[in-house]
């Protein structure tokens, strides 16, 4: 299996084999992060630019650490965004970064499809660090990596994703990734947060919808708890936070009725007492901090692979 893609835009666009290659490569990189000197010269002399149109400390830092462990130089650009923002277009910004001879552009944007627009317009590698409600491929990859590490496989697993499904890029990427690797996904949320046609996403017949979290958790091997952002426009009409916690929050009480070893994941940052109870977040089933650690290995693998693809194209 060879990596041929210049960009990583989403898991929708990857084959099962490509996803597995990333996961396997990430395993090797995870070993690197356990060394005393956690750094390898693989991307020495390369420049990685983190272009963030949305504030995101954790994803940005994770990419930064990943790039630095590969010995790349890292430049962080945070762009002020507002709906009335005038001035440079996205493509112009991208071309300027390319003119600085950067090699890899990691982009986070509040508009779905923005990384695709950059990838089309630029010769350098583009890695999607989250675009609108569309995809967040590296987050899903690290979720899957963690799951695989914990349970030894993905095929045949039942994974519940609970939360604001409609506006979640993490959810969409997970559906693509998990279903391609043979897992069954159940998305769980109040009806108004379930977007139309979501059950047809991913590989055929791999995604189901439920509005009852207790029912969904019954045979689940893992639950991925999404962050509820009650401050966003779309959720202003939404019932009280406490109401949500009562009906969908992941509590010890609920987990008691689920499989004993159910894995609890969360992309972070967690809202304690809103979508997840503190005792669960800190409990034995939680792998939330391992996800953070694995995120670095996965992102190292992604940066390394796309960089190789470009070198091939250059010949």
């Amino acid at each position: 299996m060879l990596w041929t893609k210049k960009d990583l835009l989403g898991l929708e666009y990857l084959s099962k084999e490509e996803i597995e290659l990333i996961l396997e490569t990430a395993e090797s990189f995870k070993e690197v992060t356990t060394r005393e000197i956690k750094k390898v010269p693989a991307l020495r002399g390369k420049t990685v630019v983190n272009l963030f149109y949305e504030p995101s400390t954790r994803t940005r830092i994770s990419f930064e650490v990943a790039a630095k462990r590969l010995s790349a130089d890292v430049i962080n650009i945070a762009v002020e965004t507002s709906s009335v923002r005038k001035g440079e277009t996205l493509i112009d910004t991208g071309k300027n970064i390319q003119a600085l001879k950067a090699d890899i552009l990691v982009v986070r944007h509040n508009c779905s499809g923005a990384p695709a627009l950059l990838a089309r317009s630029l010769a350098i590698n583009v890695v999607n660090a989250g675009d609108g409600w569309h995809e967040h491929p590296t987050q899903a990859l690290l979720d899957i990596f963690t799951l695989r590490e914990k349970l030894g496989r993905i095929e045949g697993l039942r994974v519940v994703i609970v939360g604001d499904i409609a506006h979640s890029r993490v959810c969409r990427s997970n559906i693509w990734g998990l279903s391609k690797l043979g897992a069954k996904v159940t998305v769980c949320a109040p009806t108004m947060l379930i977007p139309p046609g979501i059950e047809e996403m991913g590989a055929a017949n791999c995604c189901a919808v439920s509005c009852d979290i207790d029912e969904a958790l019954k045979d689940a091997d893992a639950v991925n708890v999404l962050r509820m952002q009650f401050e966003r426009d779309e959720l202003t009409a939404f019932p009280q936070q406490l109401e949500y916690f009562k009906n969908y929050g992941i509590t010890e009480e609920r987990l008691k009725r689920a499989k004993k070893n159910i894995i609890v994941m969360h992309p972070g940052p967690i809202n304690r007492g809103i979508e997840i109870a503190s005792e669960v977040a800190d409990g034995a089933n939680s792998v939330i901090l391992e996800q953070v650690t694995n995120g670095i290995a996965v992102r190292m693998a992604v940066l390394f692979l796309v960089a190789q693809a470009q070198d091939k194209n250059a010949q």
Binding site: S28, Q308, D311
Partner: protein, 179 residues
């Protein structure tokens, strides 16, 4: 490429390894603080065999590690075939150890340079010594082996192929030439 000559057969290979094992023990005055690290992929198999040889002589288990140098290569950008990253597996502390670095063929010396860089990132060994099955010359870096199975003068357009039963189904070393 076609086969030109066979340089080592199964017995010759075994003899060479046994001789190298003796030399290592003699030079290090026994197997204390010794560890063997092989470079993926055939160097790793050679490392395991060397450890077995040493055990036969000295009756001691010595730690064996595997080094994947992909991430340290200086020619990543020049490769026509995409490198596949595998794990490095060194599950012991290399600090103050005498490390025997093992590879199948010593040629330009660049692989060894990468391996040295990577090894040193794992800690500070007492010494690093190099053991190779074949030294075919044409060095591009100031590197030399401490233990050599066989020296073979070759031309640049020949290839030395080390075959090992673990991966190739049989033990032998052949010279391949164009044509």
């Amino acid at each position: 490429m076609r086969e030109k000559t066979k340089i080592l057969d199964v017995e010759a290979m075994a003899r060479s390894l046994m001789r190298i094992a003796h030399e290592i023990l003699e030079h290090n005055r026994g197997s204390r603080d010794l560890a063997i690290v092989g470079i993926r992929s055939r160097g790793a198999h050679l490392a395991v065999r060397l450890a077995e040889c040493i055990k036969k002589i000295d009756n001691k288990e010595i730690p064996v590690g595997i080094l994947d140098i992909t991430l340290y290569r200086d020619d990543l950008t020049l490769l026509t075939a995409q490198p596949v990253v595998h794990k490095t597996e060194i599950n012991f502390d290399i600090h103050d150890k005498n490390i025997i670095l093992v590879d199948d063929v010593l040629y330009t010396g660049r692989t060894i340079r990468c391996a040295l860089s990577e090894l040193i990132d794992f800690g500070r060994p007492q010494t690093i010594q190099l053991a190779v099955l074949i030294d075919r010359g044409h060095r591009e870096l100031p590197i030399r082996a401490d233990y050599v199975g066989k020296n073979i003068p070759t031309s640049q357009d020949e290839m030395v192929e080390v075959r090992m039963s673990e991966v190739d189904g049989k033990d032998e070393v052949v010279i391949m030439e164009k044509g």
